[in-house]
């Protein structure tokens, strides 16, 4: 088991004082090498769960364990280290840095673990080639198509050789054919490289790529 979630709850306090339960008593286990999909209607807490699994958000109560190490009570620096060493993110809006080329976007993530600039370049080239962008390395995000930008984001997510890739609606901004390409790429990373993938999606078609389904409704696992 790579990730274990026990009785996870996340509450937000609205300005008017109302307490909103984004997640209520969620317990989930993710095994190493799984391709898990989190589905559910809007506002069901999918992204909240994903971000808590990735150490971007702390739970109000409950436990999260990564390889049996607790994440729920880790400090900010420990969570930054955890993300840097173990997690790759792929977001719906790609989240690329606009003033860096495709190569540099990947190099930024590599630089957190590898200080040698030549090695950073070497790794970025390898990853961009792997996602089919060997001829777009010096392009800026605005010079790339949506599909290509998402591929850069996937290459960046692989920069730290992660145990887990967390993908939040990775095909939400892509047309169906590009969406299929990206999903295939993620599936390949899962099957060939053994990377655990946890993907939030609205799309039933995308959810078919996973081998474990987590359905959330009103903050509860259904």
């Amino acid at each position: 088991m790579i990730l274990q979630v026990q009785n996870l709850t996340k509450q937000y306090r609205h300005r008017n004082g109302t307490v909103i339960n984004a997640l209520s008593d969620v317990s989930v286990t993710i095994e190493k090498g799984e391709f898990a999909t989190i589905t559910g209607p809007s506002g069901s807490g999918k992204s909240t769960l994903l971000f808590m699994l990735g150490g971007l958000l702390r739970p109000s109560s409950g436990n999260i364990f990564f390889k049996e190490q607790p994440l729920h009570n880790a400090g900010d620096n420990a969570l930054s280290e955890f993300r840097k060493n173990n997690i790759g993110y792929v977001m719906q809006s790609f989240s690329l840095v606009p003033y860096l080329t495709a190569e540099e976007n990947v190099m930024v993530a590599v630089s957190l673990l590898q200080k040698d600039k030549n090695k950073q370049k070497e790794i970025a080239h390898k990853l961009l080639t792997m996602v089919g962008l060997s001829d777009r390395m010096q392009h800026y995000p605005k010079e790339l198509s949506s599909g290509q930008q998402q591929r850069v984001a996937i290459a960046r997510a692989l920069a730290n050789n992660p145990s887990i890739i967390l993908a939040d609606e990775p095909t939400g901004n892509l047309d169906p054919s590009l969406a299929s390409e990206i999903l295939t790429l993620l599936k390949e990373l899962n099957t060939k490289n053994g990377i655990t993938i946890i993907m939030v999606t609205h799309s039933p078609e995308a959810a078919l790529y996973g081998n474990k389904k987590i359905l959330l409704k009103a903050g509860c696992v259904n």
Binding site: S47, F51, L56, L57, D76, N77, S80, E81, R83, K84, N85, I87, Y89, M91, Q92, S93, S95, L96, V97, P98, Y99, L100, E104, M107, V108, A109, V110, S111, L112, K115, K117, Q120, R156, A159, N160, D168
Partner: protein, 406 residues
């Protein structure tokens, strides 16, 4: 990729905003450097003018009249010659030359003249106007005036650098002022009898237009013996550095010689020094204003920049940047802004001083290199201080909240 690469790329990406962010610092530094350059060269000009003027401080006995600076020593009460030693051993800085003297009216023939006893080397030093008359000797080295190399580019002629002193004046030698020589109808090499003692006229002094034209100068110790007032003097003329005078040299001297009256060429010194003081105060006021305005301005720019880059900062946090790394990244940016703002500000300020100095202040201004590191350090200080809060707030950005906003 390292932090400097990232900061550099971001700065370059937003060139227009970079320029506006730099403006406040650049102009602020330029104003300070401009004023400072003009003030520095103005001070030097004042220093040279005052030094060219010769002695500018007069020590008189307590009861002496100071209505006229130039005649105050004549027939004044006396005080011990050892006071000279007291000043010399006090280690007061800013005193370049001490010229003790004893002046009394004497009758030669039908006319009255002023006989002044001097120590020749010291006296010649204090009298720049005499120094064109061939009174030659050792060169004077002054303590605080600008050096020759500093003066020449400023277009200021430092007469003192050409001054010479004579080393000795024999006991029975004398110099005679221009008008006195005319009245006595004597020439160089002639003889003159004062109080039954015969003196050799070794020099007729050039016309100075001052009271000195009517004086006869002999060795101090000879005059003391002649007048029966040994070891007493009626005045000490001092060449003081103008900066030292403005920094309270007179009051320090009053502490050493409490039973004397110490005066200076008030109008000349005070007017010029007050101008310099005012310029220094203006520099200080500008410095404070610029620290505030520059700091607020750069803080405002950084806050806007952070707001604009929230998503990007969220992305950096998402991939593993720590808060400290985000904080460092923004402070590094502030440092670079300060560094370049300081350099460009120095160049603009120096150019303004060099171009406008001669027109507005009537003095030639040269670049002052020492202001460059000062400008850079000040600009960095303003920039970093102004950026502390925005950088702190940026480091506190929660990546999740940014991702949720999308």
């Amino acid at each position: 990729m390292n932090l400097i690469n990232l900061v550099w790329r971001e700065l370059w990406h937003r060139k227009a905003r970079l320029f506006s962010g730099l403006m406040a610092i650049m102009l602020g530094i330029a104003v300070i450097v401009g004023i400072r350059s003009v003030t520095t060269f103005s001070e030097k000009a004042v220093a040279i003018k005052l030094d060219n003027l010769g002695a500018n401080i007069l020590v008189l006995p307590q009861g002496a009249s100071t209505d006229d600076y130039y005649t105050a020593d004549i027939d004044a009460p006396t005080f011990p010659e050892s006071y000279v030693e007291r000043i010399v051993t006090s280690n007061l800085s800013g005193i370049d030359n001490l010229s003790p003297k004893l002046s009394r009216r004497v009758k030669i023939g039908k006319d009255n003249f002023v006989l002044t006893g001097i120590l020749p080397a010291n006296e010649i030093t204090a009298k720049p106007l005499w120094q064109t008359s061939g009174l030659m000797g050792a060169e004077l080295k002054a303590s605080c005036a600008p050096s020759n190399s500093e003066n020449q580019p400023s277009g200021l002629k430092d007469e003192r650098l050409t001054r010479k002193t004579i080393d000795s004046l024999d006991a029975l030698d004398c110099y005679v002022g221009f008008m006195a020589a005319k009245k006595l109808s004597i020439i160089e090499g002639g003889k003159i009898t004062i109080e039954n003692k015969q003196f050799n006229v070794v020099k007729i002094l050039p016309e100075t237009g001052t009271i000195d034209d009517g004086r006869i100068f002999a060795h101090l110790h000879t005059v003391q013996k002649l007048l029966g007032i040994e070891n007493q003097i009626s005045a000490i003329e001092i060449m003081g550095c103008c900066n030292a005078i403005s920094n309270g040299l007179l009051s320090k001297m009053r502490n050493i010689l409490p039973d004397t009256r110490i005066t200076t060429i008030g109008q000349i010194v005070s007017t010029q020094l007050e101008t310099n003081k005012m310029m220094n105060k203006i520099s200080l006021i500008f410095l404070i204003i610029i620290l505030l305005v520059g700091g607020i301005s750069i803080g405002n720019y950084m806050a806007a920049n952070v707001n604009e880059r929230k998503k990007e900062i969220g992305t950096y946090r998402m991939i593993g940047f720590s808060r400290a790394r985000i904080y460092s990244m923004l402070l590094l940016k502030a440092l670079l802004l300060g560094f370049f703002g300081g350099i460009v500000g120095y160049i603009i300020g120096t150019l303004a001083g060099v171009i406008l100095g001669p027109q507005l202040a009537g003095i030639a201004v040269q670049p002052i290199l020492i202001l460059l590191p000062f400008s850079v350090l000040l600009a960095i200080l303003i920039s970093v201080l102004g950026s502390l809060l925005p950088a702190y707030l940026a480091a506190k950005i929660e990546p999740y909240s940014i991702m949720q906003e999308e």
